[in-house]
Structure formats: structure tokens, C-alpha cells
């Protein structure tokens, strides 16, 4: 234990993991089997932005109510079965993180929470960031998300406790022989498409702007003659005055273009 601190305190000792012996691994399997509905969680914030904490507390509210499963947040690592590490593991939080780890009684399960806990997240290349809890601690489960939603949190815990199975699997694709990419809107002139995309992004922001522009371009692409009726039907269905305004502008641009006329 003293050795762990010495190693962690050394400058530049950014990557080393605590050795988990066979006995502890066996005990951990027994813990997961017998824990049932008595899960005590201790939350260790290792340099996060508090977004993850807010979502953890949202998960404890009556709406999501993780106490249904006996999951309870405790205020001392000495009572904990699960250690929940959030934050990107900054240099100054690495020793407190280790102290919490050693204070928790064996066997214990460590969970990395949020994009930062899993890998350092958006701060992964900052000078004082170790880059995720797994850089210094043995992590058993990863819950990605920035921050993970309460649903994702419930799923992560259910998976770590063996109630639900893992859904995500690593995939690997190799380019096939006859793979060709076709343009999305071959019938629409380039200048018209650019004008529509720009206007839509200016009015709705980058992500929604693209989605709105795409839905409008899809309508132009599929139905040449009855664009107006299709647009009106779509707007009635969506019933959103903001969308109506943006579509009105996009239609103006479309009608001003020689193709639209």
C-alpha cells in the first residue's frame, strides 16, 4: 500500500495498475453473486466538471429511483462495495483516488463513470490529466457518456451487477471489393444545396440545422412536382412554429433558384 502511494506520487509515473491477486478475484466473483439488493456505492470525483454528479443524483431521485435495486450512495469508502470514479483523474486527485480505493474493504468493484472516467474524455491530452481512472486503478465496468443519462447509469449498474447483458461489441470492418459511395442528392444543383444548408444552419444551429436541411433536401429530391404539398403536410404533422419559419425561408431560397422555378 505504501508502495502504491510512492509509485503514484512519483512524477511521470502515469501508468501503473494495482495488482489484483487471485484470492481477491475469487472474492469479487462471490461478492457479485451474493450482493443482490444491498449495493453500497461510494462516489469519488477525480477532477470532473460535476455533470456526472448531477446525473448520479438524478438517478437517485424518485423518477429513476435506483434504491429499487438496493443501490445506495454512502458517504465513506469504508462502507462501500462499489467505487464510482468520475472525472478525468487529474494529477492532484490521483492520491486521494488511491486512498479511497485502499480504504474500501476487499472485495470491491470499481466503475469508471462518464467519458472522463473512462478515458479522460475531452480533457485526455491536458498536461495535468492522467486520462481516466483505469490508468491507476483496476476498473471492472465502464459507463461512457458525457454525462451518462440516468437511464445509462441504471443500465451500467445493472450490467456491472450481472442483471443485464452487455450490448456493445467491438466491430471491425474491412473495405469490400465493390464499395462505392454515391452523393446523397444527385438531382439537386450544388449551389442550391449549399444555400439551403447554410440558411438552415444559420437559423437552427449546427446539428439541428443539418437535420432540417436534410429533411428539406429529401423532399425536393423525391418529389419534383409536389414539393409544396409535401412540405405543408410535414409541417402540419410536426406542428412546430420554429420549424415552419425555417422551412418557409428554405422554400423561398428554393423558389428563387432556376430549378425551383
Amino acid at each position: 500500500m505504501a508502495e502504491d502511494y510512492a509509485k503514484a506520487t512519483l512524477l511521470g509515473a502515469s501508468r501503473y495498475t494495482i495488482h489484483v491477486d487471485e484470492q481477491t478475484t475469487r472474492l469479487k466473483a462471490a461478492l457479485l453473486k451474493d450482493i443482490r439488493r444491498s449495493v453500497f456505492v461510494y462516489r469519488v470525483d477525480c477532477g470532473g466538471c460535476n455533470g456526472c454528479e448531477i446525473e448520479i443524483f438524478a438517478t437517485l431521485t424518485p423518477v429513476f429511483d435506483v434504491e429499487r435495486f438496493g443501490i445506495k450512495v454512502v458517504s465513506s469508502p469504508r462502507h462501500a462495495d462499489i467505487l464510482l470514479y468520475t472525472g478525468s483523474m487529474t494529477r492532484s486527485m490521483r492520491v486521494p483516488a488511491l486512498r479511497a480505493y485502499h480504504a474500501a474493504p476487499d472485495p470491491k468493484v470499481c466503475v469508471a463513470y462518464g467519458a472522463c472516467g473512462c478515458s479522460g474524455g475531452i480533457f485526455h491530452d491536458v498536461y495535468c490529466v492522467w486520462g481516466g481512472a483505469d490508468q491507476i486503478l483496476p476498473i471492472d465496468a465502464y459507463i461512457p457518456g458525457c454525462p451518462p443519462t440516468p437511464y445509462a447509469t441504471i443500465y451500467g449498474f445493472a450490467m456491472a451487477l450481472g442483471l443485464l447483458g452487455q450490448k456493445l461489441k467491438a466491430t471491425y470492418h474491412v473495405q469490400g471489393e465493390n464499395e462505392h459511395v454515391q452523393p446523397r442528392y444527385p438531382k439537386i444543383p450544388l449551389d442550391l444545396r449549399i444555400d439551403i444548408e447554410r440558411a438552415s444552419r444559420r437559423m437552427a444551429g449546427y446539428w439541428h440545422g443539418k437535420r432540417i436541411a436534410d429533411s428539406f433536401l429529401d423532399m425536393i429530391q423525391t418529389a419534383d412536382s409536389q414539393v409544396d404539398e409535401n412540405v405543408q403536410a410535414y409541417l402540419r404533422q410536426e406542428d412546430d412554429p420554429r420549424l415552419t419559419e425555417i422551412f418557409a425561408r428554405l422554400q423561398q431560397i428554393f423558389l428563387a433558384h432556376p430549378k425551383g422555378k
Binding site: C118, P183, Y206
Partner: protein, 178 residues
Amino acid sequence: MVWKLVKEVLRVGEATVLYPFVPAVVTAGFRGRPQHDPERCMACAACAVACPPNALTMATDMAQGIITWSIFYGRCIFCGRCEEVCPTGAIQLGQEFELAVMNKADLFEQADYRLAACSRCGVFFAPAKELDYVLILLEQAGLSGEELEERKALLGICPSCKRRSDIAKLVGLDQEAV
């Protein structure tokens, strides 16, 4: 008084979601897992340039002539910049949020694409699919016949060979001599 409370409780009903037992319903604007369609992707790396936390990365193997696209979900912040910049619509944020894993390796997704070799010097220089796409776009822009053939020949040449041949043209040298 108590009666009123009981009535209120009955009116409000159960507030707690039934999530792990019934599937969760997320809102339409929810930004979940970025779903990559490897067949629509042309390895142009626009997403890797835009990705704020570098969850999307490209690696080039110049010896093998392979460019590898990869995403690390553990680092993704679900901002949707990749979807916005993708010219072919190969990456789109879905509604999936169940991303927790026991094994870190399962957070990675990879796709390999072939690079095209320069028709003069034989050095790999750009993804073959991207060159295909450029050619299709040129056709769409109205190029045809001789002009298209000329552009097609130019597309197969790496930037440094192109520069060399341009200089040769300018000073009136024979291209073979350069």
C-alpha cells in the same frame, strides 16, 4: 385532510420509470451512440478533424496502403459534430444509450479502407473511395468526354507528382524527363 392526500396520491400515480424491465423511451432530439455505416464512409477524415475530444481518429499505414477509421465510445461526448460534417451521411447519432461495457476493448469500432497509389511514383496518397466520390461529383457538376478523362488522369496522381508535372508543363520540358 388525509383523504385529500390519498386522492392526490392516486391522481399522480407512479412517478418512477420502469426502465430496466421495459425499454426506455428517449426524446426525438436525443443524441445517442454515433452509428457508423462503414459502406457509406469514404475515409475522408472530416469527422476526425471535427471531433472535439479526438474520439474519432484516423491512422495511416503507408506500407500496406491502408487507412483506418476508428471511434472510441469511451471518449465520445455525443456532440454530433461528426454527423454535421460528414459529406455522405455515413455517421449519424442514434437513439442508443446502453453503452456500458465490462471490457474496454468493446468500446472501439474500426474500419479499414484502401489507399490509392499514385499512377506515376506508386506512393499511396488518398483513400480510393474518396477519389471515386470526387469523380462522381465531377460528373454531376457537368464534366464529360475529354475534359472528364483529363481530370480522371489528374486524380490518380499524388500532389508532389502533380506539382512536378505542372513545373514541367510551365517550362516546356518533356514530362518523362522529370
